[in-house]
């Protein structure tokens, strides 16, 4: 039985958390069950489905493929950190709602985080680029079409408002 532990300090959505964790604790389990930020979901625990995607120093990563200890000293962003306040949604979240880009909503947090990072790199994507960027996140409900529409709409709105 593994008993090796690490003292870690992780910034999540701007807040610093200090914890002692087992070396083998997955980052996804740490975020969900230690920090109680359960908006990040777990779908496969082998890095394929993308449901557990979070931003790690701004880069979209699968939290089920990392250990919590690896996050020591790093800054994470989860779905709970997207909206500016409880009354408003992030523009990407708004576009997802407007386009019916979610059904059961289980894969949605991972998709939001993946697409947030994507749109920051590619603010004016075409459909093929969105589909390519989305292809690492599995969704079983939507057939992806409305998600693609939502990402394109969010990009369009962001460009429109920045003009």
């Amino acid at each position: 039985m593994t008993t090796e532990t690490h003292d870690i300090a992780v910034t999540v959505n701007g807040k610093v958390y200090k914890r002692t964790v087992e070396a083998r604790l997955l980052l996804s389990d740490f975020v969900r069950h230690d920090l109680l930020l359960a908006g990040t979901h777990v779908g496969c625990e082998h890095g394929v489905c993308g449901a557990c995607t979070i931003l790690f120093d701004g880069v979209a990563v699968r939290s089920c493929l990392m250990f919590a200890a690896q996050a020591d000293g790093h800054s994470l962003e989860t779905v709970e950190g997207l909206a500016p306040d409880p009354e408003h949604l992030h523009p990407l979240q708004e576009a997802m709602r407007d386009c019916h880009g979610l059904q059961c909503g289980y894969c949605t947090p991972g998709i939001l985080m993946t697409m947030k990072a994507f749109l920051e790199e590619t603010p004016s994507p075409d459909e093929a680029q969105v589909r390519e960027a989305l292809s690492g996140n599995l969704c079983r409900c939507t057939g992806y079409q409305h998600i693609v529409d939502a990402v394109l709409l969010a990009a369009e709105r962001a460009l429109g408002s920045s003009k």
Partner: protein, 780 residues
């Protein structure tokens, strides 16, 4: 409120919670003192259990308990038969249902043998390796035809030939039809369906409150009410002592309607026995074995036609893989048998199936629920007939469509809901016309395809028809209540897995009650909030529960008008309910808020008239006399790379008739998602078992779900033929997207590669680049 909510593309009430990570899923339930369960599962498909020694696991630090079948004592029992065989003459049905923990024998890889309860999930999984298991392997029953032989091993002792069921249904006289046919076409057709693979796997959390003497269970189920009833019975509790909550559920698609899964039996029992909350969350590997799936059927089918392409009759004999147990009865193969008839006039039909026990995971309905298999058979036969009779593929379908004046149309066989298979309403030809127009069928064949072929491109078109039996009974209910704050609360017993219930039910009630969709709060899947119901399956939520909501809202509307008429001392006809207020028409300032009326309807002091019911509330139930039959046509233009045999879908069209549409945005989502699952089934997903019953591709890296690169953009067209069987006129739409994709792919790919000219037929699903290469390369 001047605009109607019903029929509008209203965005969803539930989305803000889901989008911001605030929705509760089962694994989000955290309780103090919780224990975590891990199951020891068989790693072989068929074996006798010589011994299970759990003593070392019990001794591990952090392990609280380890249980085997023996420890369950009298609680150990095979699960219930969920769906008894329909009343069909001379049915043979051998009931063998799953058990909570295997005793004596294991019958499929993944069958649970023992459960560890520990302080963390990591520790529980560690302790699994401490269990000493002595299994004596037996020959595995895997192949359907071999399973039937007298010499085959038996999955269940005493069930010779592994025959789970034998069912024959017929109408007319196929032999006579055959004798006068101009053309007989016989083929063997293979259709395999896969794992539903919701992104949320299954899970159960149970907690026993000793002081309140109540058990609360959070479960990823599509059927919370029946889970509550069953658990109460098994645990010796009153139903009032058990609360089952199906919170937000991350995709269902059928397998989550199945009960009782072993874990659903064991976890609540352990929580009571240990008097601590217990959580079990299935991992993805477990999901491939421990959650039910669909699989293959082998059809030997024959169609008899006249020279002008009219179907005179169909004969079909098929084998159905039911897996190691058959708790769901005959639903899947009966759906195959019935849905084969499709939208066509088939005056003579003779269909026999054998359901076969195999040493593989249990088969229960997965989106389409066997309908795919039947649709594949008739659509392929029609494709071959069109070719042999030199009739256009769309035209041969048109000639056989049930005419609009023939409804209700009695197919004269029995459906999965035990009722005669009768189509309530339909108008099929306009659907076909619209689909042909949207895909540009005739233009493509006459001009585009020759032009592209001249460029060396392999592009083909497909068009297929189908019906979908939806909205079956028995019933659902709803409680509609106006609250003192003026908002409306609606509770119903069904669970929700993404169908938009929080919005479509609100749309149904909003128009009746003159309130905004946003002011209606829906509760689903909590047995403490609504006691009765069957569940979310068979594309029935919007039809059955939706109509219950409508009925209850109508009664509440009458209560509102009656009370307001008394208040204003006017006639009910002089009142209107708009914007959350009841107003006297034409008298400005004469209005009262719904919340105020609700408070008046529940006075704290004083007297009421005899017979007065408190509140503005009603509970109503709706049970249709039969299922509502939706229908549609899918059409596709596809390009095949002749080197790699990968596909590119250039255009995909669905024209669909599901009666009156409540919310076109949500309906489109259902169809898009169904098509994507159909595409996975047609060309990417296959559960590959070896001869020993081992699943060789039990990971999402090897079992290929369609991504955003494989799922095509889908154009949707609607026609509307309301159902006469419910006041809203709605039909279900949950499975329509998924049902006909297999035969569409087979037909369009054959066309693209010009396989017909080489006498090569694609008579199996799933295909894949590899399989297509093999089939297309064969020499005829």
């Amino acid at each position: 409120m001047t605009t109607r909510s019903f029929g509008a593309p209203v965005t969803r009430n539930e989305d803000a919670r889901l989008l911001s990570g605030r929705a509760l899923f089962v694994d989000d339930v955290e309780l103090p003192g919780m224990l975590y369960a891990a199951f020891l599962r068989s790693n072989v498909a068929h074996a006798r259990i010589n011994s299970i020694d759990v003593s070392e696991a019990r001794a591990r630090d952090g392990v609280v308990a380890v249980y085997t079948a023996e420890d369950l004592g009298d609680y150990w029992a095979p699960g219930p038969l969920l769906v008894p065989p329909p009343p069909i003459k001379d049915v043979i049905f051998n009931q063998r249902t799953q058990v909570p923990l295997a005793k004596d024998k294991v019958r499929h890889v993944g069958e649970p043998l023992a459960v560890v309860l520990a302080e963390t999930r990591y520790l529980a999984e560690d302790a699994l390796s401490d269990i000493a298991l002595d299994l004596e392997p037996l020959p595995a029953v895997v192949d359907l035809e071999k399973a039937l032989a007298d010499t085959s091993a038996c999955v269940h002792d005493g069930v010779r030939g592994n025959l789970a069921a034998l069912v024959r249904q017929s109408r007319g006289n196929y032999a006579v039809a055959r004798a006068r046919a101009d053309r007989i076409i016989s083929r063997r057709l293979l259709y395999d369906h896969g794992a539903s693979s919701p992104i949320e796997t299954r899970g159960v959390v149970a907690t026993w409150d000793d002081r309140a003497a109540r058990l609360t269970v959070w479960d990823t189920t599509q059927a919370p009410v029946f889970l509550r009833n069953g658990l109460a019975g098994m645990l010796g509790l009153s139903e009032r002592q058990v609360r089952v909550i199906a919170p937000f559920v991350g995709g269902g698609f059928g397998p989550k309607i199945m009960l009782f899964y072993p874990e659903e039996v064991v976890i609540p029992w352990a929580a009571m026995k240990l008097n601590r909350p217990v959580k079990w969350i299935e991992d993805r590997l477990e999901h491939f074995f421990a959650t039910t799936q669909e699989r293959g059927q082998t059809h030997d089918a024959e169609i008899a036609l006249s020279a002008d392409g009219r179907i005179l009759g169909v004969k079909d004999i098929f084998l159905h893989d039911t897996g190691a147990y058959n708790p769901y009865g005959l639903t899947v193969p009966i759906n195959s048998q019935c849905t084969l008839l499709g939208p066509y006039v088939i005056p003579n039909y003779d269909s026999t199936f054998r359901a076969i026990f195999t040493n593989k995971p249990i088969v229960t309905p997965y989106r389409g629920a066997g309908r795919q298999h039947g649709v594949f058979v008739i659509e392929r036969l029609l494709d071959i007939a069109a070719r042999e009779l030199n009739i256009d593929r769309a035209e041969i379908r048109r000639r056989n469509l049930i005419p609009p004046d023939a409804f209700p149309y009695d197919n004269k066989i029995i459906y999965q809901d035990f009722a005669p298979l009768s189509y309530d309403s339909g108008n099929y030809e306009p659907i076909l016309d619209k689909a042909l127009e949207m895909i540009g069928y005739h233009h493509f064949l006459a001009e585009e395809q020759p032009r592209l072929r001249a460029q060396g491109r392999h592009v083909g078109v497909g068009v297929v028809c189908y019906v979908e039996g939806t909205g079956i009974g028995p019933y659902e209910g709803a409680k509609v209540q106006v609250q003192n704050n003026g908002k409306v609360s609606i509770a119903t017993g069904i669970g929700t897995q993404g169908q938009g219930h929080f919005t479509v039910f609100a749309q149904v009630a909003a128009d009746q009650l003159g309130v905004s969709v946003r002011d209606i709060d829906i509760v689903t899947g909590d047995t403490d909030q609504f006691y009765w119901g069957a569940g979310t399956f068979a594309s029935r939520g919007a039809v059955v529960a939706g109509n219950a909501v409508n009925e209850a809202a109508k009664v509440v509307r009458q209560k509102i008008l009656k009370l307001a008429a008394e208040h204003f001392e006017c006639a009910e006809e002089d009142l209107e309910i708009v914007d959350g207020k009841v107003s006297v028409v034409g008298v400005p300032g004469q209005s009262i808020k719904l919340g105020e009326l609700a408070a008046r309807a529940n006075p704290m002091r004083g007297a009421v008239k005899p017979g007065t019911e408190p509140g503005l509330e009603s509970t109503q139930y709706f049970g249709p006399s039969g299922g509502a039959t939706a229908s549609g046509v899918h059409a596709m233009i596809v390009e095949v790379d002749p080197q790699t045999f990968t596909l590119e879908v250039l255009k995909y069209v669905v024209v669909h008739d599901c009666g009156t549409v409540i919310n076109p945005l949500i309906l489109a989502g259902q169809i898009h998602g169904g098509v994507a699952q159909g595409v996975g089934n047609a060309f990417y997903e296959q559960l590959v078992f070896d001869e020993e019953g081992q699943l060789l591709n039990a990971s999402l890296a090897d079992y290929l779900l369609p991504t955003s690169l494989e799922a095509p953009r889908t154009e949707i067209g609607h026609t509307v033929t309301p159902s006469p069987l419910n006041p809203l006129g709605v039909k279900g739409a949950g499975e329509a997207g998924a049902i006909p994709v297999g035969p569409l792919f087979a037909q369009a790919i054959e066309d693209a590669l010009g396989l017909a000219e080489r006498k090569i037929e694609l008579n199996e699903i799933p295909l894949s680049p590899t399989r297509l290469f093999e089939l297309a390369s064969q020499q005829q």
